[in-house]
């Protein structure tokens, strides 16, 4: 029972940043721009919100600055890939490598191994316990005791779903993704739609990163996103860019990680291997989805620049 509770809680815990990044990234995916830079944008959010939380002594201000800086990074990515028509796959990898290097550079300059926020924030105080709900067995563990970003993420899943299917902007995004020329011919500003889609993704990725570093652990370490941006990519790719489906795949990864973490506690010597399980699960899911849909190709340019 205890283990089940803990697996349920951890599933939500591990899924949160990936789901947030997934729904952020799928907007631009629907507009036919695959954002490989999600990983770097999440890392930028984690790094800069931790850094500025430490410098300002205020996590809200820190996260706000983190979001603004990641937004600027999103602008650079958009400018290169939309205005300068770069190969956005390569641009995305550039973003990832640049952010990883930049954060290491700053840590080296500060002569610290990581950014510790324990003096600024106590993560236990950030957990929101919902009265009444927290006493319900099983459901209480699932829904109560999470930090703000988790509840924000759940809300955003529905908001993004609403945006994509029930607003004019969402319609534009889908039309641009479906057929750029017809989008242009009916007077849609294709570039502006893509900018907006990418920038929303950047902001949500930044918040996902802030959840990782500030809210969950009060700590930033080098490369702490550990491929979560790529997993988000795999999730909305498996879910064909549909928000609810894509989120499901993101949660599969969260579940795999929760299972791996909890089961490894009893696994003795082999416990170190469990960390690899979620990534392997994602490979199997990708293969399975590809077999069933037989349309397994990311939309991308034909040449590598």
């Amino acid at each position: 029972m205890n283990m089940l509770n803990s697996i349920l809680y951890d599933t939500i815990y591990y899924s949160t940043p990936i789901v947030l990044c997934t729904i952020g990234g799928l907007l631009s995916y629907n507009a036919n721009v695959v954002n490989i830079g999600l990983e770097g944008m999440m890392l930028m959010g984690a790094f800069s919100s931790a850094l500025f939380s430490l410098l300002t002594g205020n996590i809200f201000l820190g996260i706000l600055i983190g979001v603004v800086l990641t937004f600027l990074l999103g602008l650079i990515f958009s400018f290169l890939s939309i205005n300068l028509k770069s190969n956005f796959i390569i641009t995305g990898f550039g973003v990832n490598i640049l952010v990883a290097a930049l954060s290491e550079f700053v840590l080296q300059y500060m002569q610290v191994a990581n950014i510790n926020l324990n003096s600024v924030v106590n993560v236990n105080h950030l957990k929101i316990h919902i009265p009444l709900v927290e006493n319900i067995p099983i459901l209480g563990k699932l829904l109560s005791g999470h930090p703000f970003m988790t509840y924000f993420t759940i809300a955003m899943v529905f908001v993004v779903n609403l945006i994509l299917y029930h607003t004019r902007f969402g319609l534009y995004v889908r039309v641009v993704g479906e057929n750029e020329d017809s989008a242009r011919s009916v007077g849609i500003n294709v570039n502006r739609v893509r900018y907006a889609a990418i920038l929303i993704g950047a902001v949500l990725s930044a918040l996902a990163g802030a959840n990782l570093s500030v809210e969950r652990m009060a700590l930033f370490t080098n490369n702490m996103t550990a491929g979560r941006g790529f997993i988000a990519l795999a999730a909305f790719y498996c879910g064909k860019g549909k928000p609810l489906n894509s989120v499901l795949y993101a949660v599969i990864f969260g579940l795999a990680q929760a299972l791996a973490t909890n089961l490894s506690l009893n696994a003795g010597a082999a416990s170190g291997l469990f960390g690899a399980v979620p990534y392997v699960v994602m490979v199997i899911v990708l293969a399975a989805v590809s077999v069933t849909k037989q349309r397994g190709k990311l939309t991308r340019g034909t040449g590598i620049g």
């Binding site: 650079i76 290169l80 890939s81 939309i82 205005n83 300068l84 028509k85 770069s86 190969n87 956005f88 796959i89 390569i90 641009t91 990898f93 550039g94 490598i97 640049l98 952010v99 990883a100 290097a101 930049l102 290491e104 550079f105 080296q108 300059y109 750029e180 020329d181 242009r184 294709v190 570039n191 550990a226 491929g227 790529f230 997993i231 990519l233 795999a234 790719y237 010597a269 082999a270 170190g272 291997l273 960390g275 690899a276 990534y279 392997v280 994602m282 490979v283 990708l286 293969a287 590809s290 077999v291 349309r295 397994g296 190709k297 990311l298 340019g301 034909t302 040449g303 590598i304 620049g305």
Partner: protein
Amino acid sequence: MEKKKLKHYLRETLSTLLPILAALVVGGFVILAIGENPITTYGVLLQKSLFTYSGLMKTLHYAGPLILTGLAIAVAFKANIYNMAVEGAAVLGGFSAAVVGFSLHGVSAPVHIFLCLLTGILAGVLYTAIPAFLKAYLNVDEMVVTLMLNYALVIVLQYFTEGGALKDPKAGYVSTYSVSPDAMFQKLFNSDLTPFFFISIIIFIFFWFVFKKSKLGYEITAMGNNPAFSEASGMNVRRKIILIMLISGALSGLAGGGFMLSEKYRYTLDFSGDPGLGWEGMLIALVGRKDPVGILIASIFFAALNTGSDYVDMFTNVPKNIVGVLQGIIILFVSFRAADAKFGISAKLRDKFGKSPKDAPAEGKAA
């Protein structure tokens, strides 16, 4: 005709150098931001790594594995296959070479080295076979799969390094045993250079012929330009995908194995460095425009940055990771350079709103 060719080369060279110069400028502002002098820093970076005997030899020594991972990425990217398993295959190649290096005894030094490298190559091939078959037969996207596998691999190797039969209990840090002395490449000319550099050069010359003269080289380019047409013209694209990815894996495994026997000697968690042999290979393939000679020059340049970064750490107050920052900026500039080569930056900026973005892939092919 001659003049046209000259102009072509001039433009190629210029568009290769521009992103690097631009990155140095942007990186200069980063150095200024922490209150240091960019000119001094770059001076140390390049002078120590290229214009001193020991520095230059060290640079060439570092270039060895980078030439191979650069080729590994180029051979796949040229065929429009995003094989990011190069990083993982290099790491696994290094790990496997180390295991053979410390567990095998009673063979002569050249045989031992040969067996280590062969194991590294096989490991790279087997590792890359997973995404290769998934892509060829199930049409699974190779880029996402290889990225996932790399993360999984690093965790698995960490497991073997942190405990069990391969861990060296005497090392003060997490590490496998060190390879036995007869599996180590000997240093040459009183420098860091080892015979592995010359092995890399021989492989490089071989691939120059493959790219420029062979049927396979032609087919790779054709696949990259138009896979549907290649298929229609009777090429077995499925088998070619597997072949290309396995070649890429073999090159990566050799790179990792050679790096192990000539530099690291034992597997540690930071074996591949920052950002990693495979990622640097991507950088090199892109800056070198997937052309063999370009890759050779780019390998030496990025190896010089690696060598220089140690000296930057020693002689200035700038953290050595400024080199990583430069690499990241270079990729950003390189990602749209293909278009610049054709139109020049000013023309590009002028008509940036006038043209449809779907032209971009066609321009990308020119790279």
